[in-house]
């Protein structure tokens, strides 16, 4: 399927002209045919549907906490409760080291990006199957669905982030110049979440097993990421392999940028970034490949 511009449009003698407002869109020819090969993201098509993307994000945000009593507070409460539990069990009882930072801030600084990521996997993974008629009854670039699901969680992330800042002030931690690098790590988390979200959402349409895989995956991933513990616990020899998990780079980065811990090495960060890009690229290709039969199998 591709579009080509046509300079003029003859109407085959049928008189009443359509109104001119339809402008350039009217001058395209759409060819619908059998798809072939691997296709990259059609950025122009997504751009054309940017208003839809906006409304989908807006819908996600608007609907997420409908009919809950405390609404958006859940965005904060989820990571916050986990932080409390972690602080009691790992911080107090087991006395896990926390790189010289008070354990509650140490874990919360990791839980904020982690909650974003974990929720993104769940929401993104379900974004296509939750409303099958969107796939079988109307056309729009399918990728806007996981894109919107994951993007909408940035709002929750922002709310939780404010609490994180509050906690830092409470413990008297003032971030240094390194905090300017923070957006980089947010982007890293976002790209990783999108990559995994593309994989999971597309596979979920065909294999509903994914619904059951997601919670297990999130749990495994949690332990493979230095959230409850510092990555300094990982033996030096395994660090590179460990860094293949992009969330390691994200969490390390958050702690380094905000708390000034001495853990992020640029080498493992590069590994994380490369892994994230690989996930994103492959997820996108896989999504585009599977996309064609969504309507037939959903």
């Amino acid at each position: 399927m591709h579009e080509q511009s046509e300079p003029t449009l003859s109407r085959g003698g049928v008189d009443p002209p359509l109104d001119e407002r339809q402008g350039p869109a009217a001058r395209t020819t759409l060819v619908v045919g059998p798809p072939g090969g691997w296709q990259a993201l059609d950025v122009r098509e997504i751009w054309r549907y940017r208003d839809l993307l906006y409304f989908l994000v807006w819908r996600e945000v608007k609907v997420r906490y409908k009919q809950t009593v405390i609404g958006g507070a859940w965005a904060v409460l989820q990571p916050f409760m986990t932080m409390v539990v972690f602080s009691v069990i790992f911080g107090l009882l087991i006395d896990v080291p926390s790189d010289g930072v008070p354990y509650p801030v140490f874990s919360f600084a990791a839980l904020v990006p982690w909650t974003f990521f974990a929720t993104a996997l769940a929401r993104g993974g379900n974004s296509l199957v939750q409303d099958p008629s969107l796939l079988s009854k109307v056309y729009f670039p399918r990728i806007t669905l996981p894109l919107a699901a994951v993007s909408s969680l940035l709002v929750d992330f922002a709310i939780a982030f404010v609490i994180l800042i509050g906690m830092m002030l409470f413990y008297g931690i003032v971030p240094g110049v390194a905090s300017l690098a923070l957006p980089l790590f947010v982007v890293l988390a976002y790209v990783t979440a999108l990559g995994v979200g593309f994989w999971l959402s597309a596979a979920n349409v065909k294999y509903r097993d994914i619904n059951y895989v997601i919670p297990v995956l999130v749990q495994f991933w949690l332990f493979l990421t230095p959230i409850a513990y510092p990555s300094s616990l990982i033996p030096e020899a395994w660090r590179a392999l460990y860094g293949l998990n992009p969330m390691v780079g994200v969490v390390e980065g958050f702690r380094w940028a905000l708390l000034g811990t001495e853990s992020a090495t640029s080498a493992s960060l590069l590994v994380s970034a490369a892994a994230a890009l690989l996930l994103f690229g492959s997820g996108m290709l896989y999504f585009r490949r599977m996309e064609r039969e969504f309507a037939d199998v959903v």
Binding site: T29, V31, P35, L56, K66, K137, V138, Y139, A295
Partner: protein, 423 residues
């Protein structure tokens, strides 16, 4: 540079057997499949999964401003064709060229969210249908006017009645204004007044020069709105031409299937909790032959697992072109008991029908309360036989009028009493 708005060439769509829905399996199946494929290949040839063509060798053109109606039985490929044209799914073979902005309406209310208000859903649904935000804003008032639901605009749609919901959903879609509009049987929703409004909207869209492809089971609508019709059967085009003749051939063939025993008919809908299993119709006359002046006696056998509560039998009688003539409804006279035994026969006797000779089609429906238990379109037919009602051997022809009316004529001041026949 195109003389046609839509050109389909050699369109085909292959599905795995069991219907498109059965085509998805579990991950395990795929893994096992993948592991076995090389082994099978060694054993001599791949065992291909069984497939069927939902659409095959379909080719047609639609001119600018033309309204093309697509008719066919359930499963004939109509919806698959529309899905391909609206880019929801891809053809397996061939391609379609669409020279203009395409808007598709395959379902009413796609993407509606129950928790959002009417206002919010207008924006969301508009964007899903492909409208820009500015476009929705511009048309917002017109959309709201069309719904006649101003008062409920800020109510979540989950509190809407189903009628209100449909109204809102269709109103958004009706303002899509693409150059090529693809519509699938969406007019079968809502109350009669709203349906009429929707048909009017389609008609005006056509008059504005929009190209419309329109699937419907509503034959009068096909004939009234379309310039040309296309009949699909088993994924292929059987006939293409003026709506009246295509509809007539289609109806004639649908009537053929009407000869199957009702209990074995598959082309029915409803939840199946009670089913109509037999149907017969004859006249109340001694010789049972149906003539223009006959009263009809219709007997519907039904079957269920348990007693049928609040039954409503609905019989629609339409003419040879499937234009409705009579609606017989057990609630009209309200003489059936509130609960019927699990199995039985219900009889309906009518007044004289006054129909011109020709074929009539009968559609049957059984409701329990508000739940549709069974619906069989084209359940059967009957023939109104010629009769010399006027004593002159003359009779108005069916292709001209449907009814024959008893009449008396005289020259004023010279009335001859007793002349003329009442049928």
């Amino acid at each position: 540079m195109s003389a046609v708005a839509v050109r389909a060439e050699n369109l085909g769509k292959l599905y795995r057997v069991g219907g498109p829905r059965a085509a998805y399996g579990s991950l395990r199946e795929s893994l096992v499949d993948a592991a076995q494929t090389p082994i099978r290949a060694l054993r001599g040839g791949l065992q291909r999964p069984e497939t069927f063509w939902a659409l095959k060798d379909v080719a047609f053109d639609v001119g600018w401003g033309e309204v093309l109606g697509i008719v066919g039985a359930n499963g004939a490929g109509k919806s698959t064709l529309l899905k391909i044209l609206s880019r929801v799914t891809y053809p397996t073979t061939g391609h379609a060229r669409l020279h203009g902005r395409v808007g598709a309406l395959l379902e009413v209310g796609t993407g509606f969210h129950a928790e959002l208000t009417g206002r919010e859903n207008i924006y969301l649904s508009g964007a899903i249908l492909g409208m820009r935000k500015s476009e929705i804003e511009r048309k917002f008032d017109a959309i709201v006017d069309f719904t006649e639901l101003e008062r409920f605009l800020d109510t979540p749609v989950k509190r809407y009645s189903s009628g209100m919901y449909m109204r809102l959903a269709f109103s958004v879609a009706a303002h899509l204004e693409p150059e090529i509009l693809v519509v699938d049987e969406v007019l079968a929703v809502g109350d009669a007044a709203f349906q009429k409004k929707c048909l009017g909207k389609m008609d005006s869209a056509a008059r504005e020069g929009r190209t419309i492809l329109f699937v419907s089971h509503n034959m009068p609508a096909i004939q009234a709105l379309c310039h040309r019709a296309l009949w699909l059967r088993d994924g292929r085009i059987v006939e293409e031409g003026p709506p009246a003749s295509v509809v007539e051939s289609y109806i004639a063939s649908a009537v053929e299937t009407g000869r199957f025993p009702l209990a074995e008919r598959e082309d029915r809908s409803g939840d199946g909790s009670a089913r109509i299993v037999s149907f017969e119709v004859e006249s109340a006359d001694a010789d049972r032959v149906i003539r223009p002046g006959s009263r009809l006696v219709l007997r519907l056998g039904y079957r269920s697992d348990r007693p049928v509560r609040y039954p409503q039998f609905v019989i629609t009688i339409s003419d040879h072109l499937d234009v409705g003539l009579f609606l017989l409804h057990s609630e009209f006279t309200n003489r059936l008991p509130e609960t019927l035994p699990p199995e039985g026969v219900v009889t309906c006797e009518t007044d004289p029908i006054h129909l011109t000779p020709g074929r009539c089609i009968v559609h049957l429906e059984l409701l329990k309360g508000n739940v549709q238990a069974d619906l069989i379109p084209h359940a059967g037919t009957f023939e109104v036989h010629d009769d010399d009602v006027f004593g002159t051997g003359m009779m108005p022809p069916r292709d001209w009028v449907r009814y024959v009316l008893g009449q008396r004529w005289w020259l004023e001041n010279e009335r001859v009493p007793g002349e003329g026949v009442q049928s």
